[in-house]
């Protein structure tokens, strides 16, 4: 079972690529800064776009009720959320094949 957080740099690149943030580099995104509203200025459609990108990249499924401000507050929060989901998915696979 992995307990390293999902790479924050990788997550920043995913955000930039999937949301078409032209002119933004990973260095410009602070891991603790708010992603939505005033921070990076992302909105609800961006959140959903990010969900699709993360599901694809990390092979996880994100439920609609999990798409809430807390999990998506910052890159750091997102990293913890994704790591948690990946760990759960790994545990389910282990249990199924045990």
């Amino acid at each position: 079972m992995s307990d390293t957080p999902v790479s924050e740099d990788g997550l920043k690149r995913l955000i930039i690529d999937s949301l078409n943030l032209e002119g933004v580099s990973p260095e410009m995104i602070d891991s603790e800064q708010p992603l939505f509203g005033d921070g990076l200025g992302l909105d609800s459609v961006d959140a959903l776009e990010l969900v699709v990108a993360m599901e694809k990249r990390f092979g996880i499924k994100i439920r609609s009720d999990e798409i809430e401000p807390g999990a998506f507050a910052s890159v750091a929060a997102l990293s913890r959320f994704v790591a948690g989901r990946m760990a759960e998915a790994e545990a389910e696979t282990e249990a199924a094949t045990a």
Partner: protein, 409 residues
């Protein structure tokens, strides 16, 4: 206050069946036609219910030329229009159906021939030679044009594709054309089909409920998609009177306004919707206090119903808004997208004719944040001949409203 138009004919194709009769019966019974569907393979989609039109009745192909070459949306449209025109006393359609009267078609669609377009697209491979008909019919204007062709219409033909407000806007255009003398008869309506792009698209927005949608309920969780068509024959009220046609209801006014706020989220206070309602009331010469019932947009998404409630509360005052009997037609047949407003106008005509607001299926507590007088269980009788307001709030922030009045008024 401007002139009213008489609705002299009504046609519908809905998840309740082919015809305005099954549509009316289903609505007034409080039935729900959202459930299992097989328009396309949805195994890999997030949700698995929709409002699908049942297979067409036998004999339709014989009654309409070139039926087999029509896309599904065109068939829905032509069937609804033919029913409406026949019901208006103009005969069964075809080139003699509207002879002598200058007619126009004011239609709406979001999907057009997209179902067949998707299948065409999926079949494209470098070595194959695809049948191109599927791609030509992809045009959103195709259902309205098919109606015009089938009826031999020679006046203006326009298709509005402003997402969920399209049908209501099309009715508004028809009303304008009649008042301006550009046409003597207007066939206003819309048609849409279930297709992959909208089903996947709304699911990607996490806007689709896994269950049939539950507008204004506390546990609402999203919309249900639907398909079908509606057509209303409209004439200037005095012309209908002169030829002895019996109006089924009157279209007294229409209004529209945009949120200019966000591409998917409605204005949180329902600003554009409130202004659209105000414009419709002014156009009809009706004060807010005179409205006796509502046909809501009521998609069942948390945001839409809340924004809609706030718009209603702003226009009618919270106290009055809590009392106005409200029909949530989408709970019965789903959200047809572009043509929703047209089918819901047809529902409004049905309710005014029967003197009762149709119930939504499913029961359950109304959300205290959206305390509308949602009619559940059984139709709620309407006392008197008060006007009805029908409202639609669209994806992209386009809002439109209609004021309809009982024929007996």
């Amino acid at each position: 206050m401007n002139g009213a138009a008489a609705v002299t004919g009504l046609g519908a194709v809905s998840p309740f069946g082919w015809g305005a009769g099954p549509f009316a019966d289903g609505l007034l019974a409080g039935a729900g036609a959202i459930g299992e569907f097989d328009r396309f393979d949805h195994a890999a989609y997030r949700t698995h219910v929709a409002g699908q039109v049942p297979p067409e009745p036998a004999g339709l192909a014989a009654r309409q030329p070139c039926w087999r070459r029509l896309t599904l949306a065109e068939r829905f449209a032509v069937a609804a229009a033919a029913e409406a025109v026949a019901g208006a006393g103009f005969g069964g359609g075809g080139t003699t159906g509207l002879a002598g009267r200058r007619a126009g078609v004011f239609f709406s669609s979001s999907t057009g021939g997209m179902l067949e377009g998707e299948e065409f697209y999926a079949a494209l491979e470098p070595r194959r030679r695809p049948r191109l008909r599927g791609m030509v019919a992809q045009q959103v204007s195709a259902p309205g044009e098919a109606v015009a062709r089938a009826l031999g219409v020679t006046g203006p033909v326009e298709t509005v594709s402003s997402a969920c407000a399209s049908g209501t806007l099309a009715l508004g255009l028809a009303l304008d054309a009649l008042r301006g003398g550009e046409v003597d008869v207007a066939i206003a309506g819309g048609a849409d089909v279930l297709c992959r792009i909208t089903y996947a698209g709304f699911n990607s927005l996490r806007s689709v409920d896994e269950r049939p949608c539950r507008p204004f309920r506390a546990d609402r969780a999203g919309l249900s998609l639907g398909e079908g068509a509606a057509a209303l024959v409209l004439e200037r009220a005095e012309d209908a009177l002169a030829r002895g046609a019996r109006p089924r209801a009157l279209l007294a006014g229409a209004g529209a306004a945009a949120d200019a706020h966000h591409m998917t989220a409605p204005h949180p206070e329902g600003d554009g919707a409130a202004r659209a309602i105000a414009a419709a009331l002014a156009d009809a010469g009706v004060a807010a206090g005179e409205i006796g019932s509502l046909n809501a947009h009521g998609t069942g998404t948390p945001h839409n119903d809340l924004a809609e409630w706030r718009a209603l509360a702003r226009v009618f005052g919270a106290e009055r808004a809590r009392e106005l009997p409200l029909a949530a037609t989408k709970a019965c047949v789903g959200h047809l997208l572009g043509s929703a407003g047209a089918l819901e106008a047809a529902a409004a005509v049905v309710c005014l004719e029967r003197g009762a607001v149709h119930p939504a299926p499913g029961g359950g507590a109304v959300d205290p944040e959206t305390p509308a007088a949602l009619v559940l269980g059984r139709p709620r009788p309407l006392a008197g001949a008060a006007p009805l307001l029908s409202l639609n709030l669209a994806f992209g922030g386009c809002n439109a409203a209609l004021v309809l009045v009982p024929a007996s008024a």
